[in-house]
């Protein structure tokens, strides 16, 4: 009888515990997710500025491909999204077109286009962060600077991906016009860099997968992937970005990222 009571109490508290544990676990997982994102951000801070060249190869389901070449300059902005300038070298019909972007975490980016034929600098609406970048499988929000505030986070589990120990972290876009409900990121445990990201569309179906390969370390601190491959599972199209000639701390300033510099961009 006594034993039964104890057993009942024990079972009762176990039931109670098991009811509570998901709540505790969730709060912990969110804190853990944020912690991982914060550490990744900390390690990424301090690159000051960088320049690089990029070749973008677009492939459709049938394997037909076309390519674009872009030169990019980025200026780190502490406490806000970075400033970036992209100059298009090919396709030849848009050669000399340049795009200036001030990215922000929660409000729309500020974006300007320079159209060389008209010599016109045009401020354009940038609500559409989810829209494709140059007809590719990368959305603007995929290539703009990754700020902590852009998402809320949740740690899911540890997993080994291609022999690399990773944290699997889900992140939920804070920007209301994002094209995604969530992203699942595999973060390298040792280096806190993304190895792979799954993107889920507004209907929460798997839309795209981005994989990073050929990571190289610059200034003994900053990891940059040579190749970023994005595949769209729903259309079969894919885009590969191949980066080269990374330079850091080149002495760029705010003045290299204003309307006038857009006109000068060559």
């Amino acid at each position: 009888m006594k034993n039964t009571l104890i057993l009942k109490k024990l079972i009762g508290s176990l039931v109670l515990l098991s009811c509570l544990s998901p709540v505790i676990a969730t709060a912990n997982d969110e804190a853990r997710g944020l912690e991982i994102a914060t550490e990744a951000d900390r390690r990424e801070t301090g690159f000051v500025d960088s320049t690089a060249q990029m070749v973008m190869e677009l492939k459709n389901k049938q394997g037909q491909s076309s390519s674009r070449e872009v030169r990019s300059k980025i200026l780190e902005v502490i406490g806000d999204g970075d400033k970036s300038l992209s100059i298009f070298d090919t396709p030849a019909d848009i050669k000399g077109t340049a795009s200036l972007n001030y990215s922000h975490a929660l409000k729309p980016d500020e974006q300007w286009l320079y159209l060389p034929a008209l010599k016109r600098v045009k401020r354009i609406s940038s609500k559409n962060k989810s829209g494709p970048f140059m007809g590719s499988e990368f959305a603007y929000e995929d290539i703009s600077s990754q700020e902590i505030e852009k998402y809320t986070y949740k740690y899911i589990k540890d997993e080994v991906l291609n022999g690399i120990d990773c944290f699997v972290v889900e992140r939920y876009p804070a920007y209301k016009h994002s094209g995604y409900t969530r992203q699942v990121a595999w973060i390298n445990k040792q280096e806190y860099r993304a190895e792979k990201i799954d993107f889920y569309d507004r209907k929460n179906s798997l839309l795209k997968t981005l994989t990073y390969t050929g990571y190289q370390k610059y200034l003994d601190k900053f990891w940059r992937a040579d190749v970023m491959h994005m595949i769209n599972h729903q259309t079969g199209k894919s885009t590969t970005l191949t980066w080269s000639n990374y330079q850091f701390k080149t002495g760029l300033t705010d003045k290299d990222f204003n309307r006038n510099s857009l006109k000068r961009a060559k």
Partner: protein, 419 residues
């Protein structure tokens, strides 16, 4: 957006830069290419087909032409560069449209706090789509396209100063370029040709009058604002009746003017709000064309562009463009757009081929006439683009300037190879 018929007038014998000088610039470009300079450009085949039979026997229904833009650029060092951009077009029928121009040929030097540009160049001011009131530095190459967006190279000394409180551009413009007009074989044109050999100026220095301009530009949060001032020979001509060997012609007259301009754009998420206002003082002919009288007027273009992003779950964006065009001279206005409304749709597919289309209607609220313009373009095979353009001039009453163009609806296809 190219919606506007800036020029409803045409002309006969006007000579531009000889082709020989163009060729020498092209050669210079080729030579420098071997010195690892950067060059790019396009060769474009154009066919313009007029739907109705020509109004005048000198005209044709179909016009083939070939044009080329070549840009040569060389950085001399981190702070200075030269830029040379010759242009030419050869037209099957219109001798006037067979022309060349040095769009740019300048030297640029960047200093710590300012920038200097010397030579022939192009400058764009403004924000609106339907017409470009504020944009007065360069002359319009109206023989190229009726939308007013093709410009002739302007000789200039330009200094730009970047300050925390904005950017200031100072211009000295030592030489005036005359507007181009269609030849007697050309379309679209009005009944009387413009005889550019009989050009006259208010300034006694004629085309050598030195013009000045000043512009301040700043952005304040989501607002971009520019203020400009121009003092010199008007890029827009007035016309008087003249004669050439017994034929009635229009002769262009370029008065002096002072113009102040304001352009502003407010950008919020999916809205772009745009405004351009000018106030101009100049002298125009009185009603009997016997004397010049002072005229001051205000003109404006204002409106918005709203973009629906990712329409129907696709990658495509659809923009709705609406602008109101006003001129306080009303029916006395030298412009066609004294009380007009533009409604346009802009479709961007955001695909690999950068497929785009723009449909615009400008409706004249006074004259009940309207212009329709459609432009669609896409890339193919990496280095080629195709652009389709359709323009029609509709419901034109006898009072209207556009009456001249009633039979000049056309369809145009440009196929360009880019390098």
């Amino acid at each position: 957006m190219d919606l506007i018929i800036m020029n409803v007038i045409h002309s006969r014998n006007h000579t531009m830069k000889p082709l020989s000088s163009l060729l020498s610039f092209t050669l210079l470009g080729l030579l420098s290419f071997q010195l690892h300079a950067d060059w790019s450009g396009n060769i474009t085949m154009q066919d313009r087909y007029f739907i109705d039979d020509a109004k005048y026997s000198s005209q044709y229904d179909n016009y083939l032409s070939l044009s080329s833009d070549i840009e040569f650029y060389k950085a001399l060092d981190d702070e200075s560069s030269i830029n040379i951009t010759p242009f030419f077009r050869i037209d099957q029928h219109d001798e006037e449209r067979t022309h060349g121009d040095l769009r740019e040929m300048y030297y640029q030097q960047t200093f710590d706090t300012w920038e200097l540009r010397l030579g022939i160049s192009k400058v764009y001011w403004g924000v609106t789509e339907s017409q470009h009131l504020v944009d007065v530095i360069n002359q319009t190459d109206s023989i190229e396209s009726s939308d007013g967006e093709d410009k002739l190279g302007q000789p200039m000394i330009k200094a730009s100063f970047e300050k925390d409180w904005g950017t200031v551009d100072v211009f000295v413009l030592p030489y005036f370029r005359e507007r181009t007009f269609q030849g007697i074989e050309g379309r679209p044109r009005t009944s009387l040709v413009v005889d550019t050999d009989q050009v006259s100026y208010e300034s006694s220095d004629e085309e050598k009058n030195i013009d000045y301009a000043l512009r301040w530009f700043q952005f304040i949060g989501d607002l971009e604002i520019g203020l400009s001032y121009f003092n010199g020979t008007s890029r827009e001509p007035l016309f008087t009746l003249g004669n050439n060997n017994g034929s009635a012609v229009l002769t262009p007259y370029y008065p002096l003017m002072q113009q102040a301009g304001l352009d502003a754009q407010l950008t919020t998420e999916e809205w772009l709000w745009k405004l351009e206002v000018i106030a101009r003082d100049w002298q125009v002919f009185n009603n009997t064309n016997t004397q010049l009288i002072d005229q001051s007027f205000i003109a404006l273009t204002g409106g918005f562009e709203y973009t629906f992003v990712g329409i129907a779950d696709s990658d495509a964006d659809l923009g709705l463009v609406t602008e109101y065009l006003y001129d306080d001279r009303n029916k006395q206005a030298s412009s066609l757009f004294q009380n007009d409304l533009l409604v346009g749709l802009r479709l961007a597919m955001n695909d690999i081929q950068s497929s785009e289309a723009l449909l615009g209607v400008i409706y004249d609220l006074d004259y009940q006439e309207y212009l329709i313009s459609l432009e669609a373009s896409r890339r193919f095979a990496n280095s080629w683009t195709a652009t389709l353009e359709v323009r029609t001039f509709n419901k034109i009453d006898n009072e209207s300037l556009l009456n001249n163009l009633a039979k000049d609806d056309f369809i145009q296809l440009d196929v360009a190879y880019h390098f």
